[in-house]
């Protein structure tokens, strides 16, 4: 084979590898390798800050410890509570706003821009300025609530009853626009002739919503909730800035607890096991969810 022929051109396969090679390499280096490393560490008693101390194999001890620890289940409960309410509120309000903005009216575009502003902010910044909004003495939030009904002085962040709601409210305020945008995209993809046919068949607006709008927008809504679910499962920055996981551990999500175990207590082996459990949980839920979503789409 002459040199000229050798370099004349690359095969399709080679070109394909050339394009995907860097991505595959990066994926292996920064995703797959750390994952395998973390799984390996989860079977040891490794402490990253104890220099010179060799990690020892401890079998399933870390996993048993994590699963038997009452505090971990409390954190999981806090996370589940946070996810349930944020997803529910974001689905309902997001869909409602999308339906509103799908109508043509003056100022529609300006209103859309204003509504999506919160999701453009940094979660840490949002956390910090909501601490001021929630301030019982000078906060706007308390003032507005008391304007409608005088509840007296109440502390959203300092009360164990209200603090979980305080993070739900902020997350909903920040991320409902995301759900709204996805739903809006879904609504705008519904062909008009369906509604025209429904009008001919004398279907009411409610029937049109139930039998045309909702089935059409549902796959989009479910997709938005999948993204939000994954994001909220690993929610960290906004909550840390807002409540630091407090009062006590009332808003300490699993991700915050994981960070504290891994990078403050430096229990690397134990926290790796915890991380693997969280990963399997979200991966398992995600898979089931995607399957359900695909079935709905096929209908």
């Amino acid at each position: 084979m002459s040199v000229k022929k050798k370099f004349k051109g690359l095969s399709d396969k080679a070109v394909a590898w050339l394009f995907i090679g860097p991505s595959v390499f990066l994926l292996l280096a920064i995703n797959i390798y750390p994952l395998i490393y973390a799984i390996r560490m989860s079977f040891t008693n490794f402490y990253a800050n104890k220099i010179g101390r060799e990690p020892q194999f401890v079998g399933l001890k870390n996993y048993i410890k994590v699963l038997n620890k009452e505090a971990i289940w409390e954190k999981m409960q806090v996370t589940a509570n946070f996810m349930f309410w944020t997803l529910l509120l974001q689905a309902v309000i997001g869909l409602g706003l999308a339906l509103l903005l799908n109508r043509k009216f003056k100022g529609n575009e300006l209103l859309t821009t204003l509504i999506v502003l919160p999701m453009m902010l940094s979660p840490a910044v949002v956390g910090v300025f909501w601490t001021y909004l929630y301030n019982p003495q000078v906060g706007l939030f308390n003032y507005v609530i008391n304007f409608f009904h005088d509840f007296g002085s109440f502390d959203m962040i300092g009360s164990s009853v209200l603090a979980p709601w305080s993070i739900v409210i902020v997350d909903t305020w920040m991320w409902t626009p995301f759900t709204m945008l996805i739903c809006l995209a879904g609504l705008r993809s519904v062909p008009n002739y369906l509604y025209e046919a429904a009008e001919v068949d004398r279907a009411s607006k409610w029937q049109q919503f139930i039998y045309i709008t909702l089935p059409s927008v549902l796959p989009f809504l479910l997709l938005a909730l999948l993204f939000r679910g994954i994001e909220n499962f690993k929610m960290f920055d906004m909550v840390v800035e807002l409540t630091s996981g407090g009062p006590g551990s009332a808003t300490e999500l699993a991700s915050i607890n994981l960070k504290r175990e891994a990078f403050e207590k430096w229990k690397t082996g134990y926290s790796s096991a915890f991380a693997v459990i969280l990963f399997v949980t979200i991966f398992g839920f995600g898979n089931v969810y995607v399957k359900v979503m695909n079935k709905i789409k096929e209908r």
């Binding site: 962040i157 009360s159 996981g245 009062p247 006590g248 207590k265 430096w266």
Partner: protein, 430 residues
């Protein structure tokens, strides 16, 4: 052009060779140190770069740097609790030989500060830092309100004694309650801004001020790491219950995650009659008295015993630094009595005996006597290499009880011991 690049490179290389970086927390004393250090640069030609990290991130930033063997810092003014980790994990240079060579004697510094900031194991003669900034948790109060005859007579009528520096925590509670919700000059005021912060060390530093005063010990003096009956003794339980009572009865609304800055803000904005804080802030508080505000200061009140929570830091040379010789030169300069005097004059808290024992010291500022009193009664949190692991469960459990109102004080302390036992077992101490 080439010459320009060469000269720029040479300049950069030269300036790097004669410069060091010092890491500390971002607060008032750091600014004073920066001012003081200008004299060091003028004397030696060595530039000192500063990296000041805000308190909430201070420990994370610095300890990660040390654990990663980072070379960012040549000198570190690290918290007293880090000394164990600094020594055991080899982050700090042992300074004994250097002190001997340069004639720096630890006898020239206040014994409490040498013990707390410099030695590991505790009480040994292994020195890993020079005492740099003495500090303890103390109290500031609105002296101008206390001096108002109408308030004093109303208080005396109710409690049977004069408004003034509280002799114990019960009196502190009386006074704080007296001001809680009271209208003064047309504004609603509150009792005390106390430490309740959840994220780093705030509430632990606050509650231990009460626990030490009630006589709490961390462990059996004759059997190290035996905490049962000591850390959760009836006195310790009572102190934690009292701290919760103080929070519930006397803190301003929304003061549920507050530490240094939040306490200062509450005080400076005229919300509270008392604030709990570190001596480091008193020069600023005193200087900023205006609009009729007159601040008084006092050491942590005693209850069963006289005791105060230790703050403050020592200055250490980082083992991973390539410029240890320059860093040591800075320590040699900083240890000089004349420099220590200037340090105090600028608002730093010197630990040097020549400064502290000077006849004019107690009257040099309104908080100087309190500082002297406090430094004689200080107690510190665990200084073990695993102190962060020990701090976190205490933060959570105490916050859960004091702020969240969950469970009992005894239950919180028992839970902390349970977690501490686990930490000490993992560390091979138990």
């Amino acid at each position: 052009m080439i010459l320009l690049f060469v000269s720029l490179f040479t300049f950069s290389a030269n300036s790097n060779a004669k410069s060091i970086t010092l890491g500390w927390a971002a607060w008032d004393p750091a600014n004073a140190l920066q001012e003081l250090t200008k004299e060091f640069t003028a004397e030696t030609g060595i530039d000192v770069n500063f990296e000041f990290v805000p308190w909430p991130n201070f420990a994370d930033r610095m300890l990660n740097e040390l654990n990663n063997k980072g070379k960012t810092f040549d000198l570190l003014i690290g918290d007293s609790q880090w000394i164990g980790a600094g020594a055991v994990y080899g982050h700090y240079v042992k300074l004994n030989d250097f002190f001997d060579k340069e004639g720096i004697s630890m006898n020239d510094f206040s014994p409490a500060t040498v013990y707390a900031y410099s030695t590991w194991p505790k009480g040994s003669e292994n020195y890993y830092a020079l005492p740099a900034m003495g500090d303890a948790l103390a109290w500031a109060y609105r002296k101008d309100w206390f001096d108002r005859p109408e308030l004093n007579s109303e208080f005396k009528k109710k409690y049977g004694y004069d408004l003034g520096v509280p002799a114990n925590w019960n009196q502190l509670h009386d006074m704080c309650s007296f001001f809680q919700g009271r209208e003064i000059d047309g504004q609603k005021r509150y009792g005390a801004a106390i430490n309740t912060e959840r994220g780093s060390e705030g509430i632990t530093m606050g509650v231990t001020a009460a626990m030490y005063a009630w006589g709490m010990e961390y462990e059996n003096p004759n059997k190290p790491y035996d905490m049962e009956g000591y850390f959760n003794s009836p006195q310790a339980v009572e102190a934690v219950e009292f701290y919760r009572k103080l929070y519930e009865d006397c803190a301003p609304p929304g003061h549920s995650d507050a530490y240094m800055v939040a306490n200062l803000d509450a005080y400076k904005s005229g919300q509270v009659a008392f604030q709990m804080n570190w001596y480091a802030f008193w020069p600023g508080v005193s200087k900023e008295d205006s609009d009729g505000r007159v601040s008084g200061f006092f050491a942590n009140p005693k209850q069963n015993v006289a005791a105060a929570t230790l703050g403050g830091q020592g200055i250490s040379v980082v083992k991973y630094s390539d410029k240890q010789d320059l860093a040591l030169e800075y320590i040699k300069w900083f240890a000089r009595p004349d420099v220590q005097q200037k340090w105090w004059d600028l608002g730093g808290y010197s630990c040097h005996n020549d400064v502290l024992n000077s006849p004019s010291f107690p009257t040099s500022t309104v908080y100087a006597q309190g500082f002297l009193d406090s430094m004689g009664i200080v107690k510190d949190f665990w200084q073990e290499p695993t102190f962060v692991e020990l701090m976190l469960p205490m933060q959570e459990a105490i916050h859960d009880y004091v702020v969240n109102g969950k469970g009992t004080a005894k239950g919180a302390l028992d839970k902390i011991i349970e977690e501490w036992v686990e930490v000490f077992e993992a560390d091979g101490k138990l």
